[in-house]
Symmetry: D2
Subunit: 420 residues, 4 copies
């Protein structure tokens, strides 16, 4: 999966593993068993499933092939907790994950402990295949961090159907800040390179690093804010078909979209439901929970466009990875976008790029080759990470991808412009 061997010492690896598992535990600490069952749509999974699936990943790809005496707690878990790896065998229907009440929460925690103990034992021994094991453990940790983001956004979606609007974490109000005017930075075009190369972990789809030619472009210095978005709404942006992709307008009409997901109007003010409970929309925070269709229409309305993923990578590759991200281990962070101008964290930024293989891309052999390659159609790349992304997941070449109609992730946007 990852192209290059991370110069991870065994100790660093064990640290990474423990930090990662601890963060998952911290994320579910505020949940009752009932919360962990919520599955509100096929795209989302119950928290309990995320706990088990990330564990299965270590079991399936490390313990089963590399630890001869390993015994699973229950052989049927492979069926229940495989997500989509065809080559790892048959799997349970994705939209029925919310109907698996047993193993219950405690049994899943036992499963986690069993796999953690077995993996610790494996890692504590000198092995000839230590490098390969290290690569797999690192991949498993990054995989679990991806699921941490999903766990959080799936949970928000699941809780949002509860008329009582429960609070997941203490409802700190967002600080009111000054509006930051929208400015752009010019980037000269020409030959350049993007994609991952060299040391350090990366997913297969981030490479090969390759040359490409770009036109000059202007990149906005901050994401689109809630205040910007309200201006679009008040200008009739959702109704005016001229701004929209034909398909986008059809979806928006059919779904009755008139504002971002989780918003409502109350006492002449916009409110939104967050993991901190219901809160007034923070005007100068980046807008979140908007689909690609909406983002694209907004950009056209604003006389701009979305950047390509190459422009995004080139514009921000030298910015240090800091911002409103999830922290280390038990520090689960703000869990909603906050006012600020940074590129890392807060919200994923839609790009206009199709999620496509880079020139020369070849998926690895075997089940792990299914990790990214088989999703390369009809999805758009997003860059920048969000408030639900662990900081150690993020790097400038990181590509995430969603369907143009999806809104439940922490999805926002940043504008770009042609130079004319």
């Amino acid at each position: 999966m990852n192209q290059t061997l991370t110069a991870a010492s065994p100790n660093n690896l064990i640290d990474l593993f423990q930090r990662t598992r601890a963060r998952t535990d911290a994320l579910v600490a505020p949940l009752c068993p009932e919360d962990m069952m919520l599955q509100s749509m096929e795209d989302a999974s119950p928290a309990k499933w995320h706990l088990a699936h990330t564990t299965w990943f270590f079991e399936e790809f490390i313990l089963k092939p590399h630890e001869p005496g390993y015994t699973s707690l229950d052989d049927r878990f492979a069926f229940l907790f495989n997500s989509y790896y065809v080559q790892a065998g048959p799997r349970h229907a994705r939209d029925k994950r919310g109907l698996v009440s047993r193993p219950d929460g405690q049994a899943v925690r036992d499963y986690r402990s069993h796999v953690e103990d077995s993996l610790a034992a494996l890692l504590s021994r000198n092995r000839e295949d230590a490098d390969e094991i290290a690569r797999l453990v690192e991949l498993g940790c990054h995989h679990e961090m991806q699921h941490q983001e999903l766990l959080v956004t799936d949970l928000l979606h699941g809780l949002s159907f509860n008329p009582l609007m429960p609070t997941y974490k203490d409802p700190e109000p967002v600080q009111v800040t000054e509006e930051v005017p929208l400015t752009y930075t010019r980037h000269p075009g020409g030959m350049d390179e993007i994609g991952h190369a060299g040391n350090g972990f990366a997913y297969d789809c981030e490479g090969p690093r390759h040359k490409l030619y770009l036109q000059d472009f202007d990149m906005a210095d901050r994401p689109v804010t809630n205040a910007d978005w309200i201006a679009f709404m008040e200008d009739g942006g959702y109704r005016d078909a001229r701004h929209w992709l034909m398909e986008g307008h059809a979806v928006a009409t059919r779904e009755g979209w008139q504002h971002p997901l989780y918003w409502w109007r109350q006492d002449d003010e916009w409110w939104t439901y967050t993991l901190r409970g219901p809160q007034p929309v923070a005007l100068n925070a980046p807008v979140v929970h908007v689909s690609y269709y909406e983002a694209e229409a907004f950009a056209r309305w604003a006389g701009a466009r979305l950047p390509t993923e190459a422009e995004h990578e080139i514009a921000f590759r030298d910015v240090p990875i800091e911002g409103n991200l999830m922290g280390e281990a038990k520090d689960t962070g703000a869990l909603r976008p906050l006012p600020g101008q940074g590129v890392w964290g807060d919200v994923w930024e839609w790009t206009s790029s199709d999620f496509a293989p880079y020139p020369g891309f070849r998926a690895p052999e075997g089940a792990l080759g299914e990790y990214n390659g088989k999703f390369m159609v009809n999805q758009r790349v997003l860059r920048g990470g969000s408030c639900a992304t662990p900081r150690e997941q993020m790097r400038p070449t990181y590509r995430t991808f969603f369907y143009p109609h999806q809104r439940w992730q922490m999805l926002g946007l940043r504008l770009a412009k042609d130079v004319v």
Copy 2:
């Protein structure tokens, strides 16, 4: 709702209430919090919802209107736990009940205690409206018993999606018995009467008692068994459109029905999933989990027909209410049909009768008038009760009703014939 005042002494009433509540508690005793969240389709509800809804019924129709100082634990529960009573205010979407993780199981138990205590206090005082209260408490208990049956069948449906096939209660095997030949008893036609009258509890739709004229008919002396059903299957009964109502065959084809719900073939034997876990199909037990469409096709294949509800009532009104039913209080019974020939218990028996108002029927005023009347279209009456029906619910005039395509209840059949 109930037409006549039951001569229930206050003590009997409190007994009934306590027995009923105890049975609900007993039913959920084997469940983990995750089990109580399962909602596998819109027709079914989570166990936790049943616990809360039956409690809301006492609160909404007795405590709120009749107990001036009564305070609800949470005013929003009325929205969450109203099922369909338009006149009792707006209510939560039925197909989203499985997404209400909070109040969690403990909070719902607290809600139950709060209402039980409040009702006990109310009942302990002398009141002018004692008769009306008595009628409402009795109705609330019968309502809760109806939901006990639903709780059990909804749970079975929810658990059936779990590939691990969990066992709800200890898996006692069904005793193997001799096949009982199918015989019929002749009933002379002429003027007769059906429907409830006189003392004792009954639902509104069981009356008015009224005259009607019947032709002679033959009624089978036992329900259709699994062995009978297998003969139908082996004769190509599911495929041969000549036996079927046009609409029934279309549904069976679209859904791919080739056997009753929960059956599968394993090692040359039919197996079925039950609340006692997976078990071989018991050949001489009544067939269960068949739709009206299937029952109707079976009857035509067998050269017989389904009885009308009037024929069923007249044929069995003098048979004592005994059989494989749920017992008193904490005795939750066999929970699946057992070999035997009785009419009460085991399986509900589809009749050919449309669920329609009896001549002169008038729904009561107010929200409780919505109890039965508004369901009187497209549903078929079933008679006889099932292994999931509390014994004290059952009486010869009892009409339950389901849609012709539904299968998840304990639904079976008994044959009848014209006399020619």
Copy 3:
């Protein structure tokens, strides 16, 4: 199919056949080939299909089995033009009838001529099976008359999707008349009989004639009018869930029903689309194109109820068959309800009766046994005929039936009441 032999002389039979075929020809005379292709939903069929299917009926059930040397114009027509007779072989998908452009209109007319000529030849010869042939020809003519009504209502539905609102026949305005107050006639209950017996044609489902016992009832002396319906609408009848069956209100909400099918509001007046083109709603004509759900809600709003089919038959069995019906041969009539109080013609009147077999009903053997029996679930009986029903189709025992949600036929209602 028909229970009894009509004492039809051969000449009468040929007359009936010719009149019937001539009426079909007259009905399609105003249509261009494109009109005859319209299929606007699965329930409706193109005019061209009706022409061919009614012809196939004579070919399949008379010519093929009874005329040894008969050759079909095209053997594949049996597949194309069988509607639903499983025992007559496989058939084309019902919802794809509008995609059969060939045989074109002329080829279908040739098919009609071929079958007409062959049947004329058959009828002109003395035969041993003359009685059976007579019965089948008579059935085929009644079958074709049923399809004449469908042809007209399917056409109206198909044309209604054309924004140009074409006129099928010259747009005679409906005369303005005085409102007729709503009165009731009392009918004593007791033992009675309904159903067909004796001479004369009738469908299988109209018998056996059988005894039954009725309560006293009041029957309205005129159908519900458009003026009555507007009063219901203006009183918020469509919105107020208290009047509605639960399922009816769900359908009405989902479909956005706020008035009968084909109505719209224009310049403060209600208009409707008819086969005579767009016209203002005639206040004192019977309301038409309302579903059972709407009819049932209206009745409850009006403090009345729908009659049962037995009440309807008993109340009107002695009224001569006259009214706004389709005439003989080429006289296709008014084609929309007109002001008047009669029971025969104008609109079919919903009854509260499930379309069920009468006691002792047995479908005939063979494919013709599929004529009515296999529709006996989830449909409601209507009585009285409509402006699209040929007069010679009508008789007091005639039962037609539709699903509670259907509106595209000429469906209206008449009120009844319990005597209390």
Copy 4:
């Protein structure tokens, strides 16, 4: 729309217009009025609608704005025959085009004549805006040629639902030829340019011409043939999820795809339905009617990949525009792929490129700006033209685009490979 003025003399323009209109007439000459009504899915339109819509285009964008005294035959046609131009006003529902029986075929022909006569009169006069008119007429002709391709493929789809499998044009058998081995030509990468510039007609989305950097690549010298495809099928290609995009496999499974559209197995041979009627699959002709999902899976199975649109353009830009295309005026051509190795004609070739704006693309102002821009999401570019594409439509920069699941167009593929 077109970026550059074609140096079209008035006479050339009139020639182009007449040739184009004559080809449309020739295409519908074999059709009966019923054929011209067929609409088999929302993606397809009736032939009659294509005739009217292409006429409306000239009326709406030339006659109405530029001919002061112009009167339409019927003002309501603008509503009926606008396809998707939001800025040209409201329009009829796309999926209901098959329900517009009137105007009938003759009335649509009258509409065509009226617009043709009016346009001829306009073009015969000297005008100041002659250049703009010329550009619009040229665009209108190219637009009509696009609809000629759609007319043909929509018709094939519509007729394919007819069990009689009608023949549109005389059923010439395809000549049997020798298999041509699959070879590749190597293309060196480096800086290059693609897109339209300079004189000659092109659509907006073909520009701006722009620089880009490519890796070396190998391009197949012939398209994938039916023989190749059968090898894929026989190797279990449709079932083996490893070859497929996840979404592609889900669609293929849901739709039951096991071969290209219109194929079936008969007497141990593959047959296909074409506009020449049913024919055996020609082994050495290019495979046609395969979706992007299938094409992509085939390529992976074959150890190759689909080319990008830039690779395709660069590889073939110097090949003269000759091949199995539709001819001039009344020459409508072979209407199905034929054995051969050419790139132009036969089948459109799927590329892996998302249909996206070229760098610097800006849609023109006004309704004509909706021509291509609003479709730029979720579609894939195809190159090369097909047997249903008029020859004078084709050029190396031409981009057509369809959704990955679509199959009813003349869609095939050609392989490419990375150089490693």
